[in-house]
Symmetry: C2
Subunit: 408 residues, 2 copies
């Protein structure tokens, strides 16, 4: 194992101790004691590396390698919070990779042309409070005081109370968001198994999928399972099973990059000897192209209506999430790909099927992402793991990208 492999793996182990959960994995929720300790420990590490470190008002931590022209900044980093019983890589890896990249660039190339900054963002997961991307949304000026003023965690602690007791506060919304960020590059674990399956060490992400989420409520008639002949039934599960089967089959026929998931099913009354009167299921549709999402939505809506007519049941389709795909910046993607090629990295151009802080940055600044493999695609789980070889390759990819963006 070379030095970089050892260093990145050890730093991830170290960071994973903050919020290490006796029930497994890491639980490092926004503004918790563990979260606060992690951010301060990261600040100390950044300073040890001879870089300037400071928090913004809400608790995003920045470390900067000052450039000759301090009016322009190249930013990298990811989020420091985790889900409950999450892994040691999701988010954390992007921060560790960023600090190590800055350290390496400083040692090898000295002062850059532009500022190169690493950020340990406060929050992305939405695992403590019902609000996601608190960190990145504050950096680009999207987050508002009113969004979080009245929300509480599962123990009843208010967002504001938690923030203040952690030593932070709202940003001054009358001030404009930072204009100096010229590019953002995030490295992250894939949280899928494409890289592992295709035996690649690095993914260069060209876009983040858009998603639509639906709840479908199928209403038939609850009846006695013994005394109701088949011809008399309006069996909600029979209708729903056909809908689910057909719509997943359709998604498979459309093929990559479309993915469609029925993750949740609830049957009422859900008793072995009662013909179900109601079946409720969710649909999650993702694709990198908005038109493809719209067209597939039309197809599955038509199919659900057709099946419900056939069965004589009612089906109500409620779309409760509609997020557009977010393309990464083509120039930054091209530049990253070029240097991956030059440095002999075993990479793949790919999309992200999961959401990331990069989707918040992308509409505001040129943004791109790098992925490293996730063992068996496992994420948000104590078993999350990436081989040290791949962790190091990701850092190398980031170093190359930041050099291109910051020194040229």
């Amino acid at each position: 194992m070379d030095d970089l492999q050892r260093e990145v793996a050890e730093r991830l182990d170290w960071l994973g101790e903050f919020g290490k959960d006796p029930k497994g994995g890491v639980s490092r929720l926004l503004y918790s004691k563990e979260w606060t300790e992690a951010q301060h420990a990261l600040k100390a590490w950044i300073e040890q590396e001879g870089l300037e470190a400071q928090f913004d008002e809400i608790g995003n931590l920045f470390g900067v390698l000052k450039g000759k022209d301090t009016g322009e900044t190249v930013l990298t980093g990811s989020h420091v919070d985790t889900v409950i019983n999450g892994g040691r890589y999701d988010g954390a890896y992007g921060i560790v990779a960023g600090i190590l990249a800055l350290k390496y660039l400083k040692e090898k190339y000295g002062q850059p042309l532009r500022n190169i900054e690493v950020v340990s963002m406060a929050e992305e997961e939405g695992s403590r409070f019902p609000y996601t991307f608190w960190g990145s949304k504050n950096i680009v000026g999207l987050a508002k005081r009113e969004d979080v003023e009245n929300i509480r965690d599962f123990e009843g602690t208010s967002f504001v109370e938690a923030m203040k007791s952690s030593g932070f506060d709202f940003r001054d919304e009358s001030k404009e968001a930072r204009k100096d960020i010229k590019a953002f590059v995030e490295v992250h674990v894939e949280q899928g198994s494409v890289l592992e399956t295709e035996k690649k060490s690095v993914g260069v992400v060209h876009s983040i999928v858009g998603q639509r989420r639906f709840t479908v409520e199928v209403v038939g008639e609850a009846n006695h399972a013994g005394t109701t002949p088949m011809g008399y039934r309006k069996d909600a599960v029979y209708a729903a099973s056909q809908m689910i089967f057909e719509l997943i089959k359709m998604a498979r026929e459309v093929g990559d990059p479309l993915v469609t998931t029925v993750g949740k099913i609830e049957v009422q009354p859900n008793i072995v000897n009662v013909v179900p009167g109601k079946a409720i299921f969710t649909i999650d549709v993702r694709h990198t192209d908005k038109e493809a999402i719209v067209s597939f939505t039309d197809q599955i809506t038509a199919k659900i209506n057709e099946v419900s007519k056939e069965h004589g049941v009612e089906a109500a389709i409620d779309m409760w999430m509609d997020a557009d795909p977010v393309p990464m910046d083509p120039q930054v993607v091209e530049l990253i790909e070029k240097q991956c090629k030059e440095n002999g990295l075993n990479y793949k151009l790919m999309h992200s099927g999961a959401g990331h802080d990069s989707q918040i940055f992308a509409p505001h600044v040129p943004t791109a992402m790098l992925f490293v493999p996730s063992l068996k695609g496992i994420s948000h789980n104590p078993a999350e793991y990436t081989e040290p070889e791949d962790l190091a390759e990701g850092v190398k990819g980031l170093i190359g990208a930041l050099y291109e963006l910051g020194y040229k």
Copy 2:
């Protein structure tokens, strides 16, 4: 409304007051205060009608119209217990119909040739303790002390404690079961919508269906809904939806009297953005013919195995109930049908898709059943209802049957 209609409807209202539940319907659980009061009130009513009444050891209540030959008995009746928040007809109607039939026979025809007895059986539903048919199983000598000695209700009260505090005890198992019962005729609400749909007032039941119940556990692989391409998935819900759809379709193709129900589905982890790793569902198969049940079981087992192979998932099928169909006695059925015809009743020969005390009696004594319609097939529900006209027709059918069996 004629006198009989009024009388039967009023008596059902009266009996429905015992255990009337503030949350709706009737909750009259075995050996509860309400149950005990109901049995004693029924005893008083039977005695008011000039009939002898007595309890057996476990709390079955018998009323007898003594015959000239007291060595032979024709028995009618049903169970006095209800499910939680049940209706006023299920079980209760068979008791009220029996008492009114005895009263009418006595008034009109005097002393019969054989004893004609009505029974208000202690328990059929299994709603308080995990044991069903406690009443009828004691009459035919099937119930054993050891079956219930260690069971408790949902509040932790033991069966034995409940029985004793209600004033009853185990029967003497060293004594033989009664040998004097020459026939058993039970009237009951249909709990289905066949009679209502076909506009019939009375059903003459020729058999009670057999049932098999299964739990099918489909195991695939849980994955991230965004980052796992369709081709990489082992989606337990996709496989299960095809199984459920196909097996219900097959049941519809086989047609009456086969019924098949998937009443319960559980998905794991049941989260909108996770490809489900596990789907568990139940199957309830019923038919009047054992061979048809066996053959359909073979077909659906083959189909489930075929689908799981196709999808690359594992499916484990567990059969946890296998009850044979119970034919009613052909001679008693014929006799009842004959007198329905003679008395101009609007009847239909049919099977029962639900279980009844009659299936416990049938292997021991010649047994048959009469049904009356259930509004919209609703049962085990406060909305359970039968028109007084139909209630009266059912009593007339019973009177005719008991006259044939007891006076000739």
